[in-house]
């Protein structure tokens, strides 16, 4: 019996590079490979290793990745130019359960680079029979805002709100915490919530949603854990009984609550 080698890498050309802000770049990589929103790829840097990177969006024959240079792999990726080859394997992981929001309100909450993980599903939601679409996006600084070039379009199709933690002379919008923005929102009880951001942000939003009558089983969060294999065999990404790499990265909150909220699980 021959099984496919999950570690084999594919190559794709970098078609486009967009500088989002200092140290964060978005890449369009040519590929015919199919994928769904919520999934991620393992990007490879020769001689350095691999890192899981979310599929931020997808076009006809390219995928979009947004990468912040923090370590060996991501620094390498961010040094790529148009025409360079990028090596990767994937896609891996599960998808956002967008269908559950059909006919209901869909609230997306993104913190920082978490926007890369919600962008694609947000774009898809705009085209789908979601009753009301709200997206709260919190970023630290004005300079770290991602995808500015899409805001206009997004604002036309959805309720897209940005909040910054720090003021900036050019910033006319809100300076506050994303939780304050959430508090102000009027939401139906049957709202579906998609979240991606740092663990503390996710943890802080849950009780606020509860106050609004939104159950934990209507909330989905995309998690970040250490990953090596992405196929549920290396053990690194485990949270309780789940492998974030293959059972996630997106989890219905009630299923992981026990493990996510408890220290050091």
């Amino acid at each position: 019996m021959l099984v496919k080698n999950p570690y084999l890498l594919k190559a794709g050309r970098v078609e486009k590079v967009i500088k989002e802000c200092e140290g964060i770049y978005t890449f369009h990589i040519a590929t015919e490979e199919s994928a769904v929103f919520g999934q991620y790829n393992m990007l490879y840097a020769f001689g350095k290793g691999e890192a899981p990177i979310t599929i931020a969006s997808k076009g006809e024959n390219y995928v979009v990745h947004t990468v912040r240079a923090v370590g060996d792999v991501t620094k390498h990726i961010d040094s790529l130019k148009e025409g360079d080859l990028l090596y990767w394997r994937g896609p891996y992981g599960n998808r956002w359960d967008l269908e559950r929001a059909y006919g209901k309100t869909l609230l997306i909450i993104s913190g920082g680079l978490g926007l890369a993980a919600t962008r694609w599903v947000f774009e898809e939601a705009q085209k789908s029979p979601v009753k009301r679409l709200i997206h709260l996006y919190g970023a630290k600084d004005y300079d770290s805002l991602l995808y500015r070039y899409l805001y206009k379009d997004w604002n036309n199709r959805a309720d897209f709100r940005i909040v910054l933690s720090n003021p900036h002379p050019q910033w006319k919008g809100k300076v506050s915490l994303i939780t304050n923005l959430l508090k102000e929102l009027d939401l139906e009880k049957d709202t579906i919530v998609f979240m991606c951001g740092p663990d503390p942000m996710v943890k802080a939003c849950i009780p606020l949603l509860k106050e609004k009558g939104i159950d934990e089983d209507s909330v989905y969060a995309s998690l970040e854990r250490h990953m090596k294999c992405s196929v549920g065999t290396c053990g690194h990404c485990m949270i309780g009984p789940y492998f974030v790499c293959k059972d996630g990265p997106i989890f219905r909150y009630d299923l992981i609550k026990e493990y996510f909220e408890r220290k050091e699980v």
Partner: protein, 248 residues
């Protein structure tokens, strides 16, 4: 890339790793230029170093001054070996009455030396550590490779036991009743001692948070007392390492 190799209180053993690179040293000399290395060359320049390797502990006033000068002249500073990283075997005296140690070796009273032998990191900022007494050439190659390739330096953070098991050694504590510092010692040597059927004596120094309380229990099980554990830590060449300073 300009490189300097410096020696402080030590046995020279770690510098030998450079000579062990042999052919690779010749290869490397195309990319890096060894500007200062007293033991290897009679032509030495001390201006600016991109990379300074420091062997040995700091145990005299002169050494305290010299290490600061090296730090000022160097972009990256690497502490190599147990002496530079933790104070070396000579730091065993930090745990004893210095005047007695002194007079058991010398009668002449006026030699200048500090009571304590201390790691380089007590005086200047250290960018990288190469562990071991002595270091091995693989880790040296890994570090030079990481710097040349502009990637991070890969060093184990786990205890020796993991490396020992990967090698297929049965645990010497269980099989032979030997005491072994492996559970609290950083991996990297290739689990040499257990491979030669003896307990690890700790020459790669402590892991980040060694559980000494648990190890003490382990020693008790073998019929060895606290004193035996304390002595083996003091003689581990790494007794003055910051990861357990104050605990021994």
């Amino acid at each position: 890339m300009k490189v300097g190799v410096f020696k402080f209180s030590s046995c020279d053993g770690c510098q030998l790793a450079f000579f062990e690179l042999e052919e690779e040293l010749l290869e490397l000399s195309r990319i890096i230029s060894v500007e200062y290395f007293l033991e290897a060359s009679s032509s030495n320049r001390w201006e600016h170093f991109d990379l300074a390797f420091v062997e040995g502990s700091i145990s005299t006033k002169e050494e305290e001054e010299r290490i600061k000068k090296i730090r000022e002249s160097s972009k990256l500073l690497v502490a190599i070996g147990a002496c530079a990283v933790s104070g070396g075997i000579q730091s065993a005296r930090n745990f004893e009455d210095f005047s007695q140690v002194y007079s058991s070796v010398y009668s002449y009273k006026h030699y200048e030396t500090n009571h304590y032998s201390k790691p380089v990191g007590d005086f200047v900022e250290v960018d990288f550590e190469l562990r071991g007494c002595p270091i091995n050439k693989e880790s040296l190659k890994e570090l030079i490779g990481a710097i040349i390739q502009g990637r991070s330096f890969q060093m184990p953070s786990y205890p020796l036991c993991l490396e020992c098991k990967r090698k297929g050694n049965p645990c010497v504590v269980v099989a032979h009743g030997l005491s072994c510092l492996g559970p609290i010692t950083l991996a990297g040597c290739g689990a040499l001692c257990p491979s030669y059927k003896r307990g690890c004596y700790g020459c790669y120094g402590p892991i980040e948070k060694p559980n000494l309380e648990a190890l003490e229990e382990g020693y008790r099980r073998l019929g060895k007392d606290e004193r035996a554990l304390k002595e083996s830590l003091i003689l581990s060449f790494n007794a003055y390492n910051k990861n357990w300073r104050g605990q021994i």
